[in-house]
Symmetry: none
Subunit: 216 residues, 4 copies
Amino acid sequence: MHAVRPLPAYLVKRYHGWRATDYTENHAWYERLAEEGQRPRTMLITCCDSRIQWSSIFGAETGEFFIHRNIANLVPPYQPDGALHGTSAAVEYAVTSLHVSNIVVLGHSNCGGVKGCHDMCQGHAPELEDESSFVGRWMDLLRPKYALVEDIADEAERLEALEKQCVLASLENLLTFPFVAQGVTEDRLALHGLWHHIAKGGLEVYDPTRDGFAPL
Amino acid sequence: MHAVRPLPAYLVKRYHGWRATDYTENHAWYERLAEEGQRPRTMLITCCDSRIQWSSIFGAETGEFFIHRNIANLVPPYQPDGALHGTSAAVEYAVTSLHVSNIVVLGHSNCGGVKGCHDMCQGHAPELEDESSFVGRWMDLLRPKYALVEDIADEAERLEALEKQCVLASLENLLTFPFVAQGVTEDRLALHGLWHHIAKGGLEVYDPTRDGFAPL
Amino acid sequence: MHAVRPLPAYLVKRYHGWRATDYTENHAWYERLAEEGQRPRTMLITCCDSRIQWSSIFGAETGEFFIHRNIANLVPPYQPDGALHGTSAAVEYAVTSLHVSNIVVLGHSNCGGVKGCHDMCQGHAPELEDESSFVGRWMDLLRPKYALVEDIADEAERLEALEKQCVLASLENLLTFPFVAQGVTEDRLALHGLWHHIAKGGLEVYDPTRDGFAPL
Amino acid sequence: MHAVRPLPAYLVKRYHGWRATDYTENHAWYERLAEEGQRPRTMLITCCDSRIQWSSIFGAETGEFFIHRNIANLVPPYQPDGALHGTSAAVEYAVTSLHVSNIVVLGHSNCGGVKGCHDMCQGHAPELEDESSFVGRWMDLLRPKYALVEDIADEAERLEALEKQCVLASLENLLTFPFVAQGVTEDRLALHGLWHHIAKGGLEVYDPTRDGFAPL
């Protein structure tokens, strides 16, 4: 494949730096992780966005988190139709094979995917309406929630509200998976909804008792 | 939603630690990233596996990497049928909205998804054959590659070979996306295939000139 | 200009090597950097000394660092008199045009400029005392700090202490610039003082809480 | 100084990576460099711009280059008036203390400093005209050259021509330093003018026999 090129030098250099420090200092642990298999306590579902500092925020570098990242941290509803469902596969593997105890859905401010959905709903993103737009079809998952925020006058507030609805949509869809619902019922599995404010470094948690997000 | 529970205390504590140190020390940069938008140079596609230390290996905590993680770092072929395609949406967003210069597919040793595909192909995983198995249907993407490794006598070697074929399958499928192919043809986009040995901390790179992987 | 000669062959050869490898492999990124403009997170002020391996130490080859190098990494105090101030121009551009989040002043062992100042202060460098000595007049910036180290008996220790004072002098002078002070006050800009031991590969960081340098 | 903050974690990590690899592998050489002093063959004068990949282009990491970086790689004329002249101090040290054999002035495309001078000359940058603008006063060094390019109709071509004039201005000013002129006359010192095209990775060299720049 002529498309494949040598790895950029800065990545090669950083790898060698990691190999000579972190790996060397912790290799016995990494060897055990490889031999005994992973045993993550928590599954994380978050956005692909390069500004999400998950491993930094939660020290997620020691085999603790099974991490799925996609556009806008969305989980589709349960649909066992034999077609490709990458997110559903990740959830299934985390719950039925790895038996994670927690699933965290982490949304964030300034989300390009949510913004795209917002613009579609306002009729300002015809290119996302096209059938061939993968981002558009993916963000259709969030469209039903737009009605809940459309009356918010301020656009920044409306976008933030939609980002939070995106987290709730994923939590709701997670519960349509029989193995998730069963884990919750049997009290083996807990779900969590978070929203991260990139600029302020804030973290808000969904609180079902007041049906709202509150700062940690 | 009764399923939603308070965030585990160890995560709350780590967040507060991060907030008081890393965030406080670097907030001006995070504010700029939020205000000016992300500008990642590279998209990373890797596995959800909790043992993949990507951010550690490559220092991926400064807005440099747009990260998609799914089971077995698989990319499906281009299929613009209006259905949900989360991985395709992530690739589309990275290439057409963010204009990344590089896409890195990072596979790894001890991959549970690849093992599942291997076992299906050997007839030892009937539960994955079921139409309702999301992991099974997802790993079908890799099945055509099994023929290339089935003659390898040693199972560990066969699995490693299949993990590497999984990286190649994703690279090949990436090239079926018109916007990826165009980026490659116009020399604006380069693809890279890596395989990480968890226990040894090794990193092998696909070299198209010899059609094989070689240690960095 | 008869003084201008062909570029030495070893430089021509290295350039062609870089052009055929690093540039070719990464040109899409370099093109984006040119088109979209630089967005460095950090300004570095260090010495011209050929033994300072900044880009090697910190991987400074990807558009991340705005770099000013002069004799002994000195910053003069704010003096807006309409005269030429090259270092002040670099600081102004970094802070007011590029909005860097960090300014790092990196001093080092075996610094010829600091040694010159030291010798002047001891009366052993008459040639530097001459009004026409650019190095002498430049190093006058450090002279007030000599009193703080002159009681150190061992010359090597005294020189190292003066090299560290040189970093502190620059940090103090940086704060006399209104736009630097404002950035610091508004918490948009952080300053950092480092001292590098060339022979040992060491890096010491100024810690204001103990008013001293400590190894990283 | 409350303005001084801990070094960002990504820099700490990269430093430790460098320490464990490059330094460890080459420490004997670094120890010699520290003990015996630097002996650079060439002085480089280039811009602070974060996109100038000098060490990458020329493999400049082994004590070979004495590097001065300022805004727009400008050298002022010789002016031994006892005032602060950071660039002149760097040139003096390189030539009279280190006895370099070559001085390379490296300009580049997309130069913000040159753009500022250009805009001042067109009357479009009143903020740079202010006496207190360090960048403005520094770029005054280039103003006399504007007349040579102002008739070029296309702005991009005009800017490129001015960037090249900036290299020539520095070469001319270098020759006003008696110790530079003497080195050239005695054939101990050669000057070189380069212009780097960031997007294309190009390098053009000033050729005095045709008074123009030609690609390497």
